[in-house]
């Protein structure tokens, strides 16, 4: 009932004729083309500069960066980062790229599950990075629960340098290819750790999401 009323109001406001094939064609064309609008120059850089821009922007957004060459160094680097920060518990995505790493098993309780209140740290894979603003793209799936990105105090994210694109538009294309055009339940664009300036416009880090966002950047991947 309401729907018909709303649509009638819109159509009479727009003076839509009985046959609105032209309008329908215009809408279909735009939806199918998925054309990019203006992409800023900043986002269109050759690979080396794009990587540098990503790193600069991520750091500007208050993310922390651990640079590694090979995935073989990853488990050790994560374990020592956690040890250095006095954290002995890690919840992680059940993604084989993470579970199959050479974990030493020393002094760290690792669990593969969605996050719960009180979790100290989580580890997930980023789908890609976006250089334009130092942004990470992650999406939900059976081996990557969304709560891992929000509940723990510290969020550790693995990012392969080869997946870093310039503009957001390239990330959407990449996402469509990877998911066969079926949007995952949740797509997260994350740029730095949680924050709020709701008290007197004074910026405080760590509002409701992670207080720290640590990117493990794999250069050879």
């Amino acid at each position: 009932m309401s729907k018909a009323e709303i649509f009638n109001r819109i159509r009479s406001g727009l003076r839509v004729q009985a046959s609105d094939d032209v309008r329908r064609a215009a809408v279909r064309a735009r939806l199918d083309a998925r054309a990019a609008n203006l992409i800023p120059q900043r986002a269109q850089l050759p690979t080396a500069q794009r990587l540098k821009l990503f790193i600069d922007m991520a750091i500007e957004s208050a993310a922390e960066l651990v640079e590694l060459q090979h995935r073989s160094e990853l488990a050790g680097a994560v374990e020592s980062w956690l040890a250095d920060n006095g954290i002995d518990q890690l919840v992680m995505a059940s993604d084989a790229n993470l579970t199959d790493l050479a974990w030493s098993g020393n002094g760290l309780v690792r669990e593969q599950r969605p996050a719960e209140v009180g979790d100290a740290a989580s580890l997930t894979n980023a789908f890609c990075g976006i250089a334009e603003t130092g942004t990470l793209m992650l999406y939900s799936g059976s081996d990557s629960p969304t709560t891992l990105n929000f509940l723990p105090d510290t969020h550790l994210v693995v990012l392969a340098a080869s997946t870093i694109v310039g503009p957001y538009e390239d990330a959407w294309q990449k996402l469509r290819q990877a998911t066969g055009g079926q949007m995952p339940r949740t797509v997260n664009l994350i740029t730095g750790p949680s924050r709020s300036a709701d008290i007197e416009q004074r910026l405080q880090m760590g509002a409701h999401g992670p207080r720290r966002l640590v990117i493990f950047l794999l250069h050879d991947e």
């Binding site: 729907k3 709303i6 649509f7 109001r9 819109i10 159509r11 009479s12 406001g13 727009l14 003076r15 839509v16 309008r23 329908r24 215009a26 809408v27 735009r30 939806l31 998925r34 054309a35 990019a36 609008n37 203006l38 800023p40 900043r42 922007m57 500007e60 957004s61 969605p114 209140v117 603003t133 939900s140 799936g141 059976s142 629960p145 969304t146 709560t147 929000f150 959407w172 949007m183 995952p184 339940r185 949740t186 797509v187 997260n188 664009l189 740029t191 949680s194 924050r195 709020s196 300036a197 709701d198 008290i199 007197e200 416009q201 004074r202 405080q204 509002a207 409701h208 999401g209 992670p210």
Partner: protein, 467 residues
């Protein structure tokens, strides 16, 4: 929410005398405009993006019904449900029905101005469902029984001292005046609520027709916890927020954070597309999108259609000298500042909100900074015209205009009157050349002297120079 816009003048007088409010408003003026300017300076294409965003919004509005159809089709395909609500009351009832069907006792809420517009919290509360605001600013306001004074920074009218007092009273903890400590308190208090809630309600910055997705743009992460942890996720949004594709959404995202807070990008930009999928280990089992009209479809095809381009960035109020002087609550309803002065008369009636489009210096700064180039001064004038037509303007304004138009239509008389007025004022001012008091001009002379006219009138000079 009760409409207090008719009391604008009294409220403004009180606001100007309120030292606490003036201190809080100082934070806004010292922050947002400078941050926006810096972000804009870093993106040379900013003005081109604004042109494209204006044109794209115009295209969307010309095809609004069709993009909404496509959006609904794709939400349904994702396993979600769209609810169409003509009025605020329809929307409130729809949301309550969903909550009741879930047997919900408490709902967590992300920040949503549409939920303020439809007065959702009071309604849920009155019907046995407890809403819990989770955005830090909104949480502070809920504790105080207060309402947002700004569409992006809802508690901007409060000082640190106000927040410390509210937390001390409600949290029963030792008082702290450290914003970091206060934020941690809120974080701890709300953790339990996120998990206990039966339903999570968020707003949406955009609705994406192509994918049937909704997106929220936030910095705290509360919206994400709100929509991921409970069994049901309700998105409450309005019909003009639809965009065609992810690429089109991207155009607006490049403008939104820069215009609002001067950030390059908000921390969390999260797309939600339906309920959890088979195999997902978390996420809601139900996904509802409640789409509110509440007067918007009536704006389509009228001069006010341009207002439907608004992406709720708050740049207009951040740069408005009137908003900066009196704060958001003085406007007396949900949407303050220039955008509110255009929207409020549409939503609560010009007879209730006629003062708002008059509460402007018409300096044009709002239009200058609007990311979708809404001609806000022109739209405020539109409401002034309606107000005059409907005989709603105050008697002083109406008789003043009649008096003026009598002379304006009789040029010779006008010139004689202006010329002799000039002479009389100079005479009254004497040697000082300034007037300390003048009948009918107390609004000026109570605070400063009025300089007497120093030469001939414009028309006299014009004639002299053309001769």
């Amino acid at each position: 929410m009760e409409v207090r816009s008719p009391e604008f003048k009294q409220a403004a007088r009180i606001a100007l005398q309120d030292a606490n409010l003036q201190q809080a408003l100082g934070n806004l003026k010292a922050g947002f405009p400078g941050k926006r300017a810096a972000a804009v300076a870093r993106l040379p294409e900013f003005d081109q993006l604004r042109d494209q965003a204006r044109d794209l919004k115009n295209h969307i509005l010309e095809h609004l019904d069709l993009y909404l159809e496509e959006f609904e089709r794709n939400v349904t395909a994702n396993g979600g449900t769209v609810h169409w609500c003509r009025s605020a009351d329809d929307a409130r009832r729809t949301i309550l029905d969903i909550c009741r069907a879930q047997g919900a006792k408490t709902v967590t809420k992300g920040k949503s101005m549409v939920s303020e517009e439809i007065g959702l919290n009071d309604y849920l509360e009155a019907h046995g469902v407890t809403p819990v605001e989770t955005d830090l600013g909104e949480y502070i306001l809920q504790l105080r029984g207060d309402h947002p004074s700004h569409i992006v920074a809802p508690a901007i009218h409060l000082t640190l001292n106000d927040v410390a007092t509210a937390f001390h009273e409600h949290h029963k903890r030792p008082r702290s005046d450290d914003p970091a400590v206060l934020m941690q308190e809120a974080r701890e208090m709300l953790r339990k609520q996120f998990v206990a809630a039966d339903v999570g309600i968020t707003g949406a910055n955009f609705l994406i027709a192509e994918t049937g997705s909704t997106i929220i743009c936030t910095n705290e992460g509360n919206g994400d916890l709100t929509q991921t942890l409970p069994k049901t996720h309700i998105v409450v949004s309005s019909i003009e927020k639809v965009v065609p594709t992810l690429e089109d959404m991207t155009l607006f995202l490049r403008l939104l954070a820069r215009s609002a807070t001067g950030q390059e990008f908000t921390v969390y930009n999260t797309l939600s597309s339906g309920p959890r999928r088979p195999g997902d280990q978390d996420g809601p089992e139900q996904f509802h999108v409640v789409l509110v009209d509440n007067g918007r479809s009536d704006m389509v095809g009228t001069e006010l259609q341009e207002m439907l381009r608004c992406i709720r960035c708050s740049a207009c109020m951040n740069h408005c000298p009137v908003y900066g002087a009196v704060g958001g609550q003085t406007y007396g309803w949900v949407y303050p500042g220039p955008m509110g002065s255009v929207l409020t008369p549409q939503m609560v009636g010009i007879e209730n909100a006629g003062l708002l489009p008059n509460a402007s210096t018409f300096c044009g700064k709002c239009e200058e900074v609007c990311p979708v180039r809404i001609p806000l001064p022109k739209l405020m004038r539109h409401w002034r015209d309606r107000e005059f037509e409907q005989h709603l303007s105050p008697a002083g304004v109406r008789y003043g205009l009649k008096f003026w138009s009598f002379f304006a239509r009789r040029p010779a008389l006008y010139r004689w009157f202006a010329g002799s007025g000039n002479w009389v004022l100079r005479l009254l001012a004497g040697k000082k050349g300034r007037l300390g008091k003048l009948p009918l001009a107390g609004g000026w002379t109570d605070h400063r002297d009025l300089p007497a006219p120093s030469g001939k009138t414009f028309m006299q000079q014009w004639e002299a120079r053309n001769r």
